[in-house]
């Protein structure tokens, strides 16, 4: 490629990356600010990190976010994989409409998914709570009343994660050579064994990429959580949104920095390993 093109390209890409990272860098820099402004630098200090750990709301929301994302990913991956396998083995006429319904949460705007789930949960709980009240009145039997909370948050996250898993596993299933299963059975496997030993390894890349996407979607989600988490449960995004409506404190900067550092470390580790693996492969050739 011609040299000036190369420089021009690099410059353009550099500018884009600068654009992407400038605000984040500023956030990080001001997390070490002595003053409490996001704009006026008053000296270096680690006090916001200290007060971050003492900030109950933020710590609880980080815990909730991690917990919900991990649980939802695990559940969605398992459920999605089985669902994908189920769909794969269906007749086309049955499968097509089901796959369309499956892609609704992905196509729909977050806010529609969030609002619809909210209405659904609230109506269901209103019905249940009314039933409980009647039971308490008529039979003096009590049952727990249900409210929007961690449970509904988890249900919502699982619901919007499964389609992504399915959409990652399904192509791998299609790519899989059907005859492998027949071959395995010919060689003496039960279909259960064939499933575990042949099908799963084949689709493993799809499962893993589906799980990773599900996790990313969960961590990044704000709108759906906002409508389904209720009042006492908060994800990190919700906590930050709440904080921006009030006095903003550089504790947000501190948590951004920590998040950034964690993700950066992760991605570096992953990529270094991949680079090393490739080198090993290349050397063997």
């Amino acid at each position: 490629m011609k040299k000036q093109y190369r420089i021009g390209n690099r410059l353009f890409m550099g500018l884009v990356f600068l654009f992407l990272y400038a605000p984040i860098i500023l956030l990080i820099v001001f997390s070490f600010n002595e003053g409490n402004s996001g704009v006026v630098w008053k000296g270096f200090s680690l006090k916001w990190y200290a007060s971050l750990f003492r900030n109950r709301i933020i710590m609880e929301s980080v815990y909730t976010t991690l917990l919900v994302s991990l649980l939802a990913t695990v559940i969605a991956t398992a459920a999605g994989t089985f669902a994908a396998i189920g769909f794969y083995n269906m007749r086309r006429r049955l499968r097509e409409p089901l796959m369309t319904v499956n892609s609704i949460p992905m196509m729909n705007a977050d806010i529609v998914t969030g609002v619809s789930l909210c209405l659904f949960f609230v109506a269901a709980f209103a019905g249940w709570n009314g039933f409980v009240t009647w039971m308490e009145g008529a039979y003096r039997l009590t049952a727990p009343r249900l409210y929007l909370g961690f449970g509904t948050l988890l249900l919502a996250h699982v619901s919007f994660n499964i389609p992504y898993v399915i959409l990652n596993v399904a192509p791998k299933l299609r790519q899989m050579d059907k005859h492998l299963i027949d071959a395995a059975q010919d060689l003496g496997c039960t279909w259960m064994q064939a499933f575990w030993k042949v099908v799963l390894p084949e689709i493993k890349p799809g499962i893993i990429s589906g799980a990773l996407i599900a996790f990313t979607m969960s961590i990044d989600d704000f709108v759906i959580s906002y409508f389904t988490a209720g009042s006492s449960t908060q994800t990190l995004a919700m906590a930050i949104y709440g904080m921006t409506k009030k006095r903003v404190s550089p504790e947000i900067n501190a948590i951004s920095t920590l998040l950034f550092a964690t993700v950066l470390a992760l991605l570096i580790i992953v990529n270094v390993r991949e680079a090393r693996q490739e080198k090993r492969l290349n050397r063997r050739r």
């Binding site: 402004s37 704009v39 750990f53 003492r54 109950r56 710590m59 609880e60 929301s61 980080v62 815990y63 909730t64 991690l66 917990l67 994302s69 991990l70 909210c118 609230v122 709980f125 209103a126 709570n129 409980v132 009590t142 049952a143 727990p144 009343r145 249900l146 409210y147 929007l148 909370g149 961690f150 449970g151 509904t152 493993k204 890349p205 893993i208 990429s209 799980a211 990773l212 996790f215 988490a229 209720g230 009042s231 006492s232 449960t233 908060q234 709440g242 921006t244 409506k245 009030k246 006095r247 903003v248 964690t262 470390a265 992760l266 580790i269 992953v270 390993r273 991949e274 693996q277």
Partner: protein, 380 residues
């Protein structure tokens, strides 16, 4: 690559969970975040006692929360809402399981009308007797069955004297193009339409559709001309303190907090009159922790707690002794006498209150009209 990515991710997230779980244990001495979807409807003895409070931003001295938790062993989940209307939406939406809420007068009437509040057992709240008589039996709860007042104050204009020429004396300033782009509109329908109504010299409790539409038109025109930088509630603190806006409408106590951080700010109750309000603590009808709620209310109403709170949030307490003693308390704590002007803004004297109207609950159709108009603002 993907396998390793997944493994590394899982490990680090597990570590992260563990660490935050530990951090939380240190903080609160208890486990777990939030409540699960299956709350039991009565607290058994083995469960930790909890009270869920929903109040407003910058509205409590957080030391009081710690004091209460130490004293009673009840864990306080303290949350805030943005405005009375937002609180109402959350309550109506069914997602909230608060025990104590602190709405304003007119919203309390509305909640009572809709049967959403529980009657309080005032035997559990002996500190109620410390409340000044002029805050008992008010129009929103004439028989004192549902509420215990928390704070009271006035609504007014806060402006930055270094960014504004001369003094501001009228609600006209909120619609004036002179400072277009530097004016902050208050982000709730009752106050926003109220300001416009007051500027037109109508009652803030009018149900006349014509008058309300006029008020809406005033707001809408100003908005179309770019007068408003944004609709804000508590964001106003940051904006005014850092000089990012010149004029805002907000509450007296909040002004006193802001002026601590920016001396150029001034507060005025405009000549057309304004609104004075009482925020009161009440308990939701299907609250899960009624006893704990009443304990919390009683604690907050005590004179010591009221004095500490007044000092921190700069709002006047309805507690009679706290009101009287506050100037002395201030002098003892800070070593200098309380600025009488500040005290006047905090605990508005009768002449100011006489110029103010308090919000009454509006009939259903008017409320629907408010919702409709508020939705339409910013549409054109």
């Amino acid at each position: 690559m993907k396998k390793i990515a997944a493994l590394t991710l899982a490990c680090s997230m597990a570590v992260g969970l563990f660490l935050t779980g530990c951090a939380m244990e240190e903080n609160s001495g208890s486990q777990a975040a939030g409540s699960a979807a299956g709350n039991s409807s009565s607290n058994s003895n083995t469960e930790k006692r909890v009270v869920n409070v929903c109040s407003w931003g910058e509205y409590i001295d957080t030391d009081l929360i710690d004091q209460f938790e130490e004293k009673t062993g009840i864990k306080v989940n303290y949350q805030t809402a943005e405005s009375n209307e937002a609180l109402y939406s959350v309550l109506k939406n069914g997602g909230a399981n608060y025990d104590v809420i602190v709405p304003s007068d007119y919203m309390i009437s509305q909640l009572i009308e809709e049967g959403m509040l529980a009657e309080l057992n005032y035997d559990n709240i002996p500190n109620f007797s410390l409340i000044a008589d002029r805050f008992k039996g008010l129009s929103y709860d004439p028989e004192n069955k549902y509420t215990v007042p928390y704070a009271w104050g006035t609504l007014g204009i806060i402006y930055n004297a270094s960014m504004v020429d001369g003094e501001i004396t009228s609600w006209d300033a909120m619609f004036d193009e002179t400072y277009a782009g530097d004016v902050l509109l208050i982000n709730n329908s009752r106050d926003a339409l109220g300001i416009a109504l007051m500027d037109l010299n109508y009652s803030v409790n009018t149900t006349d559709e014509g008058q309300l539409n006029q008020a809406f038109q005033k707001l809408s025109d100003a908005n179309a001309k770019g007068v408003y930088q944004g609709k804000v509630m508590d964001e106003v603190f940051q904006k005014m303190e850092q000089g990012n806006a010149a004029i805002a409408t907000y509450y007296a106590g909040d002004y006193l907090t802001m002026v601590e951080n920016n001396e150029d700010l001034r507060y005025v109750v405009p000549e057309e009159g304004s609104n004075w309000f009482v925020d009161a603590m009440c308990v939701l009808k299907d609250a899960q922790n009624k006893d704990e709620a009443e304990e919390w209310i009683n604690f907050i109403s005590s004179t010591e707690a009221s004095l500490a709170n007044m000092d921190y949030i700069w709002y006047a307490s309805p507690n009679e002794k706290a009101l009287e003693q506050y100037p002395d308390y201030y002098e003892e704590t800070y070593g200098e006498p309380l600025d009488p002007e500040a005290y006047e803004i905090m605990a508005a004297p009768q002449e100011v209150l006489d110029r103010c109207e308090s919000y009454l609950v509006l009939p259903y159709e008017t409320r629907a009209l408010y919702n409709e108009l508020w939705t339409k603002l910013g549409v054109s």
